[in-house]
């Protein structure tokens, strides 16, 4: 696949071969006529570019981090302009589309005429494509994060602390969640206090595992004391792991909360790292 820069250069060369405005328009019209029509489903309100004098639709798919663009218009000239944008951007990475300075358009000549039309059609089309590129690039970066779910019974102490600690220290690679099989309905105040001591402000809610059954996790970690309590079983998707931590709420001693907190901060990152390495193998 050629880069956007290479295609730009090609377009500038193509257009510079054309002598005058008339020939440039004929070329645009040819480009428009050679592009397939969109079907009626693709000519939806959502695909319609606002701010154009004529109707123009962009049907854009985001696959991985790339944009795949089809376009149509009831105006052949506008469709020709859309065809140039399709040549330029379709199949390219979203972040490269966003990084493109479309100043080259000036060099083609004729564009000044087109873009100054009422409604600034060209600007509206570019804005539409850029918005899709942004959405596509956000989708990608969100999906790049691994999702981990920490499970225990009450979702009031250990799983809450694990969620908070990982979100505070590993948010570049991980997005952490927590839940319990029998949610206590509150987060233990001493768990919140213990987190606060190490600079983490946590405002968790005690949640049921049912809330996450539809979510795809990369990793699910049970953090209860398997020797002394019944541990929940995760039936959803994702790799499973287990770490035993004693239930600090049994003693209600602040020091017990600190001990569990420090143990989590020490053990869980090691587990995540091991997972990352295995995944990249």
């Amino acid at each position: 696949m050629r880069t956007i820069q290479e295609i730009q250069k090609q377009l500038i060369d193509d257009f510079s071969l054309l002598e005058n405005g008339n020939e440039k328009f004929d070329y645009l019209i040819d480009l428009g006529q050679s592009m397939p029509e969109l079907d009626t489903k693709q000519k939806s309100e959502a695909n319609l570019v606002k701010g154009c004098q004529s109707s123009v639709w962009f049907s854009i798919r985001c696959k991985e981090d790339k944009l795949f663009i089809e376009a149509d218009s009831d105006s052949l000239i506008v469709k020709g302009i859309a065809a140039v944008l399709v040549q330029l951007f379709s199949g390219q990475k979203a972040n490269e589309i966003l990084a493109t300075d479309i100043g080259f358009i000036e060099q083609i000549g004729l564009w000044r005429q087109l873009s100054s039309q009422r409604g600034n059609g060209l600007t509206a089309m570019l804005t539409h494509i850029r918005a899709s590129a942004e959405a596509c690039s956000e989708q990608k970066s969100a999906s790049k994060l691994n999702k981990v779910l920490f499970l225990c019974t009450g979702n009031s102490c250990r799983s809450q602390m694990a969620e908070a600690i990982i979100n505070a220290s590993h948010s570049d690679k991980w997005q952490a969640f927590s839940a319990g099989t029998h949610p206590a309905g509150y987060v233990h105040p001493k768990a919140i206090a213990a987190l606060q001591e190490i600079g983490i402000v946590h405002q968790g809610l005690s949640k049921s595992t049912n809330e996450f059954l539809g979510t795809e996790f990369d990793l699910v970690v049970t953090v209860c004391d398997s020797a002394n309590e019944e541990c929940p079983l995760w039936l959803g998707k994702g790799k499973r792991a287990h770490y035993s931590f004693p239930d600090p709420a049994l003693t209600d001693d602040m020091q017990a909360f600190r001990n569990v907190r420090d143990a989590i901060a020490l053990e869980i990152p090691t587990l995540l790292k091991a997972f990352e390495e295995k995944e990249t193998l």
Partner: protein, 407 residues
């Protein structure tokens, strides 16, 4: 024939420019007209020899500027045959003139349950202000339909009128179709139930009769820039009996008589409706445009423009697959069309490459486009300086565009 109109083009310097390597053929006069040298000179003279604020200082320049401003008002009074200069209010244009009436007449005379009638063929500027007034007041907004010929349905109009109809707002000439409306009948019918009539003269004043007392119209609104004067100056004519009873539209500056902490009394007409420093060169340019038009016999001018339009219609009619929108008995200066398979925008762009300026789109009259089921049209609109050669150039341009797009 019409030899005297052959040389009009020479009075307008811009018509000598070239566009995309071709001599300019300007057929977008419904949007704005070009200005003759005498109008440009009058504005230039104002700025180079007596620019000053008006109605304020007692120094020489201020008095000269005030004189020019008020003399322009009297010129407009005579131009439209108003009874008094107190009935001539300077505005920014037709849109502001209509909004002024929608606000001030609405405040004084429109109550919940009353009715305002406008028509399906109005420009948005003579539609939306009334729609908003009705929403504000809880009044009924009634829209008189037009038929497929682009003519208003007068029988329907009679049945819409009731004792509660306070105002009828109608255009003199449709900006999208060119239809000339039967104002005399509409005004007589409206007056028979005591309703006032506002006529949007934006597309009429420069082509047709504009005798407000002859028409017995209550309000007449028009813009300078569509009649060879500069942009930013418009006129609202209103019968004194209405204007006297209407509250000010905006406040501050010239429109005030006396201000105390407990209250303010307002200046007399027309100043009551002219808040703030006005557009001073506008009326000066407008007066120069009126003087310019005075050299032509109005009947001859109208005949020339009508013949030119007839010729255009005939030649357009000979082009295969070209549809002209509306078929009114009386048409003035405007023709809207599409060629099958060619989007109006494409036609406009291709004509522009040949130096021909037309308007494309919905012409701020979306209800009309809905009526004909099209998103937009190509509109050619004529003015005093257009020639038969201009119209031939349009026809050739359309044929070239058809060939180019393989239609």
């Amino acid at each position: 024939m019409h030899k005297s109109f052959k040389n009009v083009k020479a009075d307008f310097p811009i018509l000598r420019v070239e566009v995309n390597g071709n001599p300019l053929v300007y057929l977008d006069n419904g949007a704005t007209t070009q200005k003759p040298q005498v109008v440009i000179d009058a504005i230039s003279r104002y700025y180079s020899s007596y620019n000053s604020n008006i109605h304020r200082g007692n120094h020489t320049l201020s008095m000269q500027a005030t004189d020019a401003h008020e003399s322009a008002r009297r010129k407009v009074r005579d131009f439209i045959n108003a009874a008094s200069e107190r009935e001539i209010i300077f505005t920014r244009g037709t849109t502001e003139s209509i909004n002024l009436v929608a606000f001030s007449f609405g405040e004084a005379f429109v109550q919940a349950g009353d009715e305002i009638i406008t028509t399906e063929m109005e420009h948005h500027s003579n539609f939306v202000p009334w729609q908003l007034l009705c929403q504000r007041k809880g009044a009924h907004f009634k829209v008189l339909p037009m038929d497929q010929n682009g003519e208003l349905d007068l029988a329907a109009f009679k049945s819409l009128l009731t004792e509660r109809t306070k105002l009828v707002a109608v255009t003199q000439v449709s900006n999208a179709l060119g239809t000339v409306n039967p104002l005399e009948k509409i005004i007589t019918l409206a007056h028979s139930v005591g309703a006032a009539v506002l006529v949007d003269g934006a597309q009429g004043v420069q082509h047709l009769a504009h005798d407000v007392r002859g028409m017995d119209v209550d309000f007449y609104a028009f813009s300078g820039h569509k009649m060879y004067a500069p942009t930013g100056i418009g006129v609202l004519y209103g019968k004194e009996k209405w204007l006297e009873q209407m509250p000010p539209y905006q406040s501050g500056g010239e429109m005030i008589e006396q201000v105390t902490i407990s209250g303010t009394t307002f200046n007399t007409l027309p100043f009551k409706f002219e808040a703030g420093t006005p557009n001073i060169e506008g009326p000066i340019g407008l007066a120069a445009a009126i003087d310019y038009l005075a050299q032509f016999d109005p009947t001859e001018l109208q005949t020339y423009e009508e013949d030119l339009l007839d010729y255009t219609m005939e030649r357009l009619g000979s082009i295969p697959e070209l549809t002209i929108y509306g078929n009114p008995k009386n048409r003035s200066s405007i023709v809207s069309f599409n060629v099958k398979g060619i989007q109006h925008y494409d036609m406009g762009m291709l004509l522009d490459l040949s130096g021909i300026a037309v308007r494309t789109g919905h012409h701020c009259a979306q209800p009309i486009m809905d009526k004909f089921g099209v998103p937009g049209t190509v509109r050619a609109s004529l003015a005093i300086y257009n020639t038969y050669e201009d119209m031939d150039a349009l026809i050739e341009g359309i044929l070239r565009a058809k060939k180019r797009l393989g239609k």
